[in-house]
Symmetry: D2
Subunit: 193 residues, 4 copies
């Protein structure tokens, strides 16, 4: 049953998404570093600031926000042993054939096209940067969903840069012509998607 | 960190999946009725028992089981107000643009091919049978994930029947030639997928 | 092997996409009518012009353009009997379990989120408006891919409107406040995705 | 319009699929080598013959067969310059943001679960074995779709092995207990999916 009176404002969802990542030890810069490492060899003029902006923009997307909130909630509940059996055990042990972690991450990845999907798959196997750290952190942390979410956000931000690069090529320009601040800014016009 | 010693046996996962559905008020027969309504006009000789068997077989698939366990867990936690804000509010109110419920359901649907995807979309809009009842049940029930999961299981079971129908046509037969029991039985041979 | 010297300009791809649809008997208005029928009951102030603009905007997306060009090419080659066996026969007969038509259509649909996927599934079964006409047109026309492509474009445009509606609600407005022209205009700023 | 009289028999589709791969220079063994390289470190007792059998079994799936037939048809038509502009140019130049090649490949990959999707993404970036050779073969060959199709078949076959490995673990066995021939055999019983 839809209950309009309970609707959460999108600004609150955006804030909660970013806070959840920081609470779990992942900064925008951590994700941006993965993006920079992947894209800088191919996209002239690209800076870390462009990558941070692109990650920030991805995190403004509803589909991505909801995936992050659900995944981190499940990780935290598993850490507190608050899930019921056998799900508690499956998530806690990061069972290789679980699949729901990848499925939730893929939901956001799809919105950036099929190129983002292959990038995500690559990151999932290579475990670059913070993704690897999450996977090997000592203690009783559960990061079953978080590593997939970080890979998904990085893949989306990288795909966004690759699409923009194509536009720049047609204009005879490089990322040197792109203001890093406006690259991440959500255009607040009605004309925009 | 993978921890093999904690692995749950697949039989326990299968049992937990079926119990979770029953606990939430959904029987195999409820789902089979949706399947029968969709497929019986096209597949000569199809009986309710074939449909129950097909639903049962779908529920033996890992990808489906994990989706069901995660979705129902989130519904139940939301019902008990145990999720953190703003996720609690988003799931409780079945926010139309949430999307993670559909994403999780689609994860299983994909494993039965693109025909299953369109069937799932159709069920999600039409809200046939038990899906509609879940959506309109009185009280403080949260069925944000459950209705999508039921639609997904029905779509998978229907797609499985449609694929089998094509095989029967090539053999010049109808479902009258198919033993309903063996149609649902998991072949326990190593040769099987 | 990538050959940058042969790259087609994106404006040429956009033009070719729209021309291909018209050549196959589908106007932007035909698709917009499906969108209007679906969304107008829920989105106050929505006009046909908003729907035409939304369809136009969807058709500016690379992922959608490539899907349209490939699908229509295959339909036309099948019509001219220029495909090799057995693909010629499979596409010509619109074999129900073919699936590649849905797969290609879904590729674009995914970029508008999981809500677009269920809308697409619904349209694929209900065969609203021009989709139904394509399916029943007399003569030797092959529309195996086209009907799925039209459903996919309509689902994307409808999903774009549903997402925008949510933004409008938060601002206390309806579509009456949205200029139909700017709603379809591609913002040519570097800040934009 | 569906025309049942024109239906191609599934055996003919299977044969055409395997012939198409061989005609384009890809043997089952080439694909099996990718699978073996990926899975043998994790799956005790796995042999090349198990991998060949798994590839063979994947190639018996309708969803995979149709993807292969469509992709290779488009590669061959592009090689013969028989596609219309601008699609001819886009496919010929293997335009990085084309996406339909990945979309068609992903259609089959999905049927083997989300684990297969990440494996496919990995192969698409790493270009292991025959995939790399296809990408760098001299002459006017067009392999825009073929490299993605090979990656997709390998990912499906590897995922099938990973799922079976999990079953073997529960039985306290390794692949040493699995007859390579029966692992690839399509069970011709009505009980089978």
């Amino acid at each position: 049953m839809h209950n309009k009176t309970m609707r959460v404002h999108s600004d609150d969802v955006t804030r909660a998404t970013k806070e959840a990542l920081v609470r779990r030890g992942v900064t925008l810069e951590d994700i941006a570093e993965i993006v920079y490492a992947m894209q800088s060899p191919y996209n002239e003029g690209l800076t870390m600031q462009h990558c941070v902006s692109s990650v920030d923009r991805v995190l403004n997307k509803r589909e991505v926000q909801h995936a992050v909130l659900v995944g981190i909630e499940l990780d935290e509940l598993a850490e507190k042993k608050m899930l019921s059996a056998p799900l508690q055990q499956i998530i806690e042990s990061d069972e290789g054939l679980f699949g729901v972690d990848e499925t939730i991450a893929l939901g956001s990845v799809f919105t950036y096209g099929s190129i983002a999907v292959t990038t995500y798959g690559h990151l999932d196997k290579q475990k670059v940067g913070i993704i690897n750290q999450l996977d090997t952190v000592p203690g009783d942390h559960v990061h079953t969903f978080l590593d997939d979410l970080v890979g998904s956000i990085a893949a989306c931000a990288a795909s966004r840069i690759a699409h923009r690069w194509r536009d720049l090529e047609e204009m005879g320009q490089t990322f040197a012509a792109v203001d890093p601040v406006s690259f991440g800014k959500k255009v607040k016009k009605l004309a925009e998607i």
